[in-house]
């Protein structure tokens, strides 16, 4: 199993550009999550999904959108990139009956 994979590893965006951060898991997990981590801070939840077709906002959803058309994939969309979105983004997943989340390697995003 590859676990949770994320692409790209690193990206530089100009202000106002858009992009999609990809996340996929091959563990047949129902629950998937997007977090951002700013320097010296903990992980903040952006969006989460409890299954295909179901998504909900986390603590810091502004400026982001998600979709969950399949169990495996949970892309995160930035529509109008702003410098405040410079961060490291982590995707995670977990299965039914467990609270342990498994994380991808992260995407480092720089908005200039």
């Amino acid at each position: 199993n590859a676990g949770v994979t994320q692409t790209p590893k690193f990206r530089i965006l100009k202000i106002g550009q858009s992009m999609t951060l990809q996340c996929a898991q091959d563990m047949n997990h129902n629950y998937m999550y997007w977090y951002r981590q700013d320097p010296g801070m903990g992980l903040k939840l952006i969006y989460y999904s409890v299954g295909a077709g179901i998504t909900d906002k986390g603590e810091v959803p502004n400026g982001y959108n998600v979709s969950r058309s399949t169990t495996e994939d949970f892309p995160l969309r930035l529509e109008l990139a702003a410098p405040s979105q410079t961060s490291v983004y982590f995707c995670a997943s977990t299965g039914q009956g467990t609270k342990t989340q498994y994380f991808g390697p992260g995407t480092r995003l720089l908005v200039l």
Binding site: V4, G42, F90, K99, F103, P105, G106
Partner: protein, 114 residues
Amino acid sequence: DQQVKQNSPSLSVQEGRISILNCDYTNSMFDYFLWYKKYPAEGPTFLISISSIKDKNEDGRFTVFLNKSAKHLSLHIVPSQPGDSAVYFCAASEWQTGANNLFFGTGTRLTVIP
């Protein structure tokens, strides 16, 4: 408002000694607690967890203690090894509509000195 707090940003310990990392929380509805370890340029990896019905959980060199009345948990690493040098995050979960959301502390950077 930060519901999970790790008040020590960093900790240095000699190899072979005990490392104690602390975590406090404010939400009394949290019922499950986890510790994650994170190396630079990698995602967090699960280390150990504890349910609120227990006060101690042990896994090899790692032990987590939970004091519910004080809303405090700690991670003990004995003996500490240079490979343990990483950032450690405490996380807590509250069962809500089955979402299994986690709330993270800000992390403690552990350095084990050979």
